[in-house]
Subunit: 347 residues, 2 copies
């Protein structure tokens, strides 16, 4: 049975309404009352009608897709972000299509072009490493609402929602300083990204505020992944003067740092203090539970989606730059005070 | 500058070719030689032309998108699967759009309908829990190539690619039996899924083969997540006769079991043997590195994409049911032999 044969006329007959009422329901019009809408939707489901949105797009120049383009789907931060976006766009009657660029600018160009061609109503983009304003210029010129998340791009001329990376790093380092740490490393992340730069600046500012120097040897970049964290802590532990604590670029790196410490028979939390950044779902259940700067990826996805929907509904809107607040969530990966621990060991 | 104003005529003029040559290039025709194609593509890029694929779809009834619908994007298995699919479809000139159903059948219906309306060339679906053949019937009737992955659905009438869950569970339990374990639990997973049923059957068959009974109390279901693993091991450790080892429903559950063991001051690998299922990227770098049944999600995505492309190129093809082989990857989470460990402890 080929379902395509079902027409608006069949639906109208089955629901006992006019053809134009069915059309209004299909277009999501507010002119149809709830009871009628429900009746039409039942008929649509029972007859297996498929709305030809390609044709409808051409007529209406409007579709019901939100696109989300992420730079690294294997990092659970972005999966959680997408889930946060999805919840909002779904209740607004949109379907979310996600595309992954794996940090490749060329692939990003292709997926953005494809989403434009398929008539997305708006795009949420976490740009691939190295993306410049010029890369987004054709998209911006087209007038499709765009929200950049996670990584902002200077002069892109679109709305952005990033987390307060500087304040988060400051709070994390202050926490380590208060616990008595004097050799604090910054581990992981690609140094050529804006996020790295902001977190690093917060790290340096907090150390300076505490009257401590920041030797370059304690800043060790790596891939922003679990494997990168293992590499970074290995390098840190080969220093003559080892650190006793680390602020990690993100939670994935922090988990890798914990793995690398255990591989050296050091217990994260007890023997070395670890702070992550992001607060992915796993941070809470990990052992030790990860002290981390909570960016709340799902919440960020939620806010990015709200911002995008606002722009879609307003037609062309002025770009907004939103800095999403963060907070330090203290769990177990920083253990007790260094002094106390030292005292216990020597008693 | 609104880029939409650029037309095929402008491209033709800039490239010094005819309008129909530009159209052929846009359609990916093999009739245009490489040099001409390059010239046209340069003009397309320079003028910022956007091909109106919605209109083209209506004319050609053919697009260049592959859809992938997954049931739980927060499980990294599915993110890795999608990355595997992406690599293949990308080199075949397609763009992949992903949608997440969060195990909701109603949402699955919506995203599949939306992908159909936007003219996907084919769909890869890991069905939401509880999906029945009837739920997919309209899609199947439409003739769009479909490949089910991970979870097969009886009588759906489409191709499927699932892993050899039974053989994997048998190999894992044999490994635990060889290491001297006599109280082996099966932890995590939703009992109402085909994947659970197959892995459970393998677990029971291997125990029976070893002349061991399978008390129901050792089979503890949970959400197939890290948090679910924590819950399942807590329940297992409250039994009067505790298990000494567990085959876990998947790696996420296994990591949660490791977390739960550590929370009780038990070291996974040394004090309790843990085997996972899937072999996600993290399994290799975790401490202890996870012994697991390798399903190779990226490789599975690769094979699913190949199978789908074959069907797309062949037009309508006969459904194939492929069972993807698995292998036990022995790492550190099962420690040494139980006898040896017991001997060491008592010596």
């Amino acid at each position: 049975m080929a379902k395509e044969r079902v027409t608006v006329v069949d639906i109208a007959r089955a629901a006992g309404v006019s053809k134009s009422t069915v059309s209004l329901v299909l277009q999501g019009s507010a002119l149809v009352n709830e009871a009628t809408r429900a009746k039409v939707n039942v008929a649509i489901r029972e007859l297996g009608y498929v709305y030809n949105r390609s044709a409808a797009n051409l007529r209406q120049a409007k579709s019901k897709i939100i696109g989300i383009v992420v730079n690294d789907l294997t990092n659970s931060f972005f999966a959680e972000l997408a889930v946060g976006v999805d919840a909002v766009v779904q209740s607004a009657g949109f379907v979310q299509f996600l595309a992954n660029t794996s940090e490749k600018i060329e692939r990003q160009r292709e997926v953005i072009a494809s989403m434009r061609e398929h008539g997305v109503s708006g795009l949420i983009i976490s740009p691939a490493r190295g993306t410049e304003a010029a890369d987004l210029a054709p998209l911006v010129a087209s007038g499709i609402p765009v929200v950049l998340v996670v990584r902002d791009i200077a002069d892109a001329g679109v709305s952005s929602l990033i987390s307060d990376n500087h304040a988060g790093a400051v709070a994390a380092v202050r926490h380590l300083v208060e616990r008595g740490h004097r050799r604090i490393a910054f581990l992981g992340g690609f140094p050529d990204t804006a996020v790295f730069e902001a977190r690093m600046r917060g790290y340096r500012d907090a150390l300076r505020e505490a009257g401590m120097s920041t030797p370059d040897e304690l800043i060790i970049g790596s891939a922003p992944s679990r494997a990168g964290g293992v590499t970074a802590i290995e390098q840190a532990m080969m220093l003559k003067e080892r650190p006793t604590a680390a602020l990690c670029f993100n939670d994935a790196v922090a988990f890798g740092v914990c793995d690398g410490l255990r591989a050296r028979r050091l217990e994260p939390g007890a023997d070395f203090a670890v702070i992550g950044f992001d607060d992915v779902i796993e941070a809470k259940t990990a052992v030790p539970a990860l002290t981390t700067v909570s960016v709340d990826p799902q919440g960020m996805g939620d806010r990015a989606a709200q911002l995008l929907l606002k722009q879609i509904n307003a037609g062309r809107a002025e770009p907004e730059a939103i800095i999403s607040p963060v907070r330090l969530v203290v769990r177990q990966s920083c253990g007790g005070l260094v002094e106390r621990r030292v005292k216990e060991i020597s008693s």
